[in-house]
Symmetry: C3
Subunit: 473 residues, 3 copies
């Protein structure tokens, strides 16, 4: 007899009765509110074409580098999981075998949010209550596969069922946004799916492909990118295009958060050198910072919220990168600095009423030291919720404890799921609501907040802050 997969209604609530009871009540007040997802990685085509999911592995394992990396650490070769996504179609036998590799290794995920999210998907989405193991692997696989044949498990139906009111995808600046356009003109689609402007690669002149990207940018915008003035205009053009298609933000991830700009004259000169392939490493870096600064300036003009999440050492294991490409689990965080790095940007735009900046980090040390102090002064700055590896219960509780005492709740972003694991989106938002309920319940239990205030606060965190921070109507 394999044990049942547990999924307790009080999950994530502490057992101490006073805190638990308040947490339950606070959570009840927001549990059924629609999901607002202002930043994520779901492919827009899934929604636009209502693409049916094919099999459990390509849906739940292949694209989930949180899970794959742990399997890899335990000795499972990535290719066996179909990584990278889209590289090849696993046969049914291969997919079953991959699913079994995962189920056998279910104990690896104890204590991790991956166990939580997958449990939610199995129980809440598929109604399956077997704990993954060698014994249950096939039955669970069959259960999921059967469900995926049903139209009620296609992306649009799930989006309704999950009550996702708003969802932003992540898109290349030169993308024509055809999927978003298709959704926008479809009267049968009542949810809102918008693009996000993600220009990282266009801002990093040291990349080998950068010059080709400038050509591509020129073509997409119809603006000559042979000069610094052209780059600026072309970027403004593409941002405007995204905004016309519903975008509410631009998203930025470089190795650090430095924002010291070159003068216009120097930027013009270095840009030409970079185009000619003659810019030095430090010139490339200076130009990159200038470009990020320019994005902030444009944001203060066009009102797109700027989200910033720096300090990841991408593709740490070079052999894995060569074999499988990026985003397969070997990105590793590094420490980050914001106070000095953001000084130029915030001096220029920090009090601009049309500028909004959300800062994310995987380096928890900056929450109390830098981010909460910055957000507690600058009207434009919001502290993003825990990002990537630290989007997990204990880390989220540390985040609230580190940030709230300096910046309260109003200066935080509201929940961001940042995920490509579409089926886990409800569980991620639900987790966040539960954890905010616990944090607030502790304040109430310690007589640091009245319960009516806590109830209003959690409602704001779920329904008001994201609308305010991302300027949703």
């Amino acid at each position: 007899m394999s044990p049942e997969l547990s999924w307790h209604p009080d999950r994530l609530f502490p057992s101490e009765p006073t805190v638990r009871d308040v947490a339950r009540r606070l959570y009840e007040g927001v549990r059924d509110l629609p999901i607002i997802s202002p930043h994520g990685h779901v492919p827009p085509q899934w929604i636009a074409d209502d693409v049916p999911f094919t099999d459990p592995v390509s849906l739940l394992l292949t694209p989930d580098h949180y899970i794959n990396r742990m399997l890899h650490a335990d000795g499972v070769p990535l290719e066996r999981l179909g990584v990278p996504p889209g590289s090849r179609v696993l046969s049914d036998a291969e997919a079953r075998a991959a699913w079994r590799e995962f189920c056998v290794r279910w104990p690896l995920f104890r204590g991790t949010p991956m166990r939580y999210w997958m449990s939610a998907v199995l129980v809440d989405v598929f109604g399956l209550r077997m704990r993954p193991s060698a014994e249950t692997a096939d039955a669970i696989y069959d259960g999921i596969a059967a469900a995926l044949d049903d139209p009620s498990f296609r992306p649009r139906a799930l989006m309704e069922r999950f009550d996702i009111a708003f969802m932003a995808t992540t898109d290349d600046p030169c993308d024509d946004l055809e999927h978003h356009e298709k959704l926008a003109v479809d009267p049968s689609f009542t949810r809102r799916v918008v693009p996000t402007f993600r220009p990282d690669r266009y801002l990093e002149p040291a990349r080998p492909e950068w010059r080709a990207l400038m050509t591509k940018l020129g073509r997409a915008s119809g603006i000559d990118t042979d000069t610094w003035a052209g780059w600026i205009q072309a970027m403004e053009n593409r941002r405007a295009y995204f905004k016309e298609h519903g975008a509410v933000s631009s998203d930025h991830a470089h190795l650090d958060a430095e924002t010291k700009p070159l003068t216009y004259a120097n930027a013009s000169r270095v840009y030409l050198k970079a185009l000619a392939g003659e810019a030095t490493e430090s010139e490339c870096k200076a130009l990159q910072q200038t470009m990020l600064f320019e994005q902030a300036r444009m944001a203060a003009d066009d009102g797109l919220t700027m989200t910033l999440h720096p300090a990841t050492y991408r593709n740490h294991h070079t052999p894995t990168f060569r074999a499988f490409g990026p985003d397969v689990g070997c990105d590793i965080p590094i420490s980050v600095e914001f106070t000095r790095a953001l000084h130029p940007l915030l001096n220029a735009f920090g009090t601009n009423p049309n500028f909004t900046l959300v800062v994310f980090t995987m380096d928890e040390t900056v929450y109390s030291r830098e981010l909460a102090p910055l957000a507690g002064f600058y009207p434009s700055v919001y502290v993003g919720v825990p990002w990537w590896f630290i989007d997990a219960p204990d880390a989220i509780r540390r985040f609230r404890k580190a940030v709230s005492e300096t910046a309260g709740f109003s200066r935080t972003s509201g929940f961001i799921d940042d995920t490509r694991a579409f089926l886990s989106i409800p569980a991620r938002h639900d987790m966040s609501r539960r954890l905010d309920a616990v944090h607030l319940a502790e304040l109430v239990a310690e007589h640091r907040l009245d319960e009516d205030e806590a109830a209003e606060t959690i409602h704001d965190l779920v329904a008001v802050n994201p609308r305010k921070v991302f300027h949703l109507d």
Copy 2:
């Protein structure tokens, strides 16, 4: 009906009954002990001249940059709050409007200690139990204003009522300390108010005003400051003057904690260059470190405790600094390093029985990594309690958990309020006593400490450690 402002007798205690009950008992043992405040920013003239407070805003909002910065982040212009303090007298209508801005934004402060301290002031000091809001703003304003007309709300009466036995102010090395002198010779004043020697600006040759300060220092000390030998003598002279007027410490805040000194010959040479305005940036920095090192040497001679709290990026938003000056809420912490930085200073004076150093930080990472290990070896080093932004319940609990396991309780400073918010001083000390009670109660509940030991420890933290660390008689 506006809700009552809650102020529960068990505030800050966890709801778990075992811990709460022990915490209550530990707290009861120290709740009524007199306040010792060895470092703060109350203007000595307030006490010396028993200056009546004029209105709620200039008393409670204008000088409180913790509150102002959050209002600013929410869009309230600083000038509307009368910032900077003393810049102008708000009309009654302006003050009422400013107070209303604050009351309407009371929800911003949820989860912050500002809410806690202000609640304490309203309930405990003024006996007002209305929760701030648009509806209650005027009534609260009137309630405070009425009280301020009463002699029992003048500084000396409040100091008696608050039972502040000892209070140190923060003063310029060239200050004549007339207010302290007035208090010292006043037989009707039985409390102890002493100056603190705060020479930062005199130790930073890169500052534009530094040369003028040297002239001022020369005048105040009557010693020629045209040479390095003169600087040393003049500083010794002013420290002696402060000590004669009751000072027990000197206070130091630079951008980092580096203490590597130049040789005497090099210091002499660089000092002359600095006076001539010809010292390079790195020479200025080297001279600054030498001057800080010299202050430590003097401290080992004259026995003034040295307090050190580096690593703040002052006046982060230049336009705000230009418009309003310093100390208006846009100072932002940066990361700090102590192990290497303090090596020269501690090698020279770390085991000197006449030297005492209290180190404060806003970078919490150094508590377990550097400060507790240093304080657990050097007889001269004490870990200061959480400073500035992190002087708040959750951060204070993190501090105790990070420091105690390596350095116990004896190597910590006792509570330091470091505040200019005079009326919140009792609430700040009370908060600290409650939180130490909770930390110790948890140790007792987990059978890591006996309750009699915990009771003795909390008494030491309140009544013994500050006397020992600041050499109070």
Copy 3:
């Protein structure tokens, strides 16, 4: 009446009944499992020759720099405690006086693990239940001294009583390992005591004694160390010798974790310069990194697990170092970086199935930011349990909360006591088991893990992970 020394069966368990009850059950499942100690500092001769302990001070105080440093911070001169160990034999009067200094200062250790470990030694090992104080100092001293005369308190008997199944010592690469050999060939000794290869000094060409060490290495290995090729061969030779004598790991502690190697040609050249005393500081550093990289390469060949614990500023107080030598309590941690530093090493060996790396830190910031992400991808990397100062209850709980959400439990090392305090070994392992029980019990109480999973996990942490990580048969 002096109070009894408390030693509660529920110690370290929280008082909240749900969590406490689960923790009790989880702990019961592992409390009596044999001790596996894969890294420590017990002198092998103690076991080999079954050396009787002479007196309480030389056994419990003189070698324990955790305790000595706190006494030193409180003003006790180190020489009074017989420091450094072996420097001289304290007379009985001196030893009694030293013991009294400690007992009088028992309150210093409140909140520290030193109080916990010493309580365990007094109660569990010696059956003494007097709380240390001036009044009880002599009686406790006499009680310990009397026990030490009994054969049941000799090292081998204690090792049986403590049920230490496996213990690794720490040894110089040129050590002839005679004590280990003696134990190996002794049929009456059924426990396993093995050496650990600790080559730090041989990898630091900037040390004044380095050239002499190369000569020593040449002699011990019988291989000419006059060339880089010779150094490599000699090291391989000594590692093989250690492995033959049962070693399962090599242990490494430098100031940082940098592992960028020189090319073979450059290493050969710089090695010759270093031997000639002509290598620059940066060449010495580069060679050191190369040598550490080479140790990893050898580890991937010979299968010895590599343990790494960098970032200690050794002998911070130079006068104390001059008077007493190393390891007397003035080593202070500094911040550390792993993501970039380990990049070369992990690119070369990170997915090598024969390579195992355990990384320890005293800089807690790297747990969630760097170590858990690295261990969650690289099959070779394990996160070591909290090291040195942070091997204490609250820090251990922070460690589990910081690491588990990203890397689960399977990617952690199992408990490492790393101690020279032989009598405290059972208490240290017991503490770890209790704290893992509490961490897991909280997950169970919050419905994040089922109790059967938690029971299996804690069993793995105690009995499986160390065997896997250190390749014990």
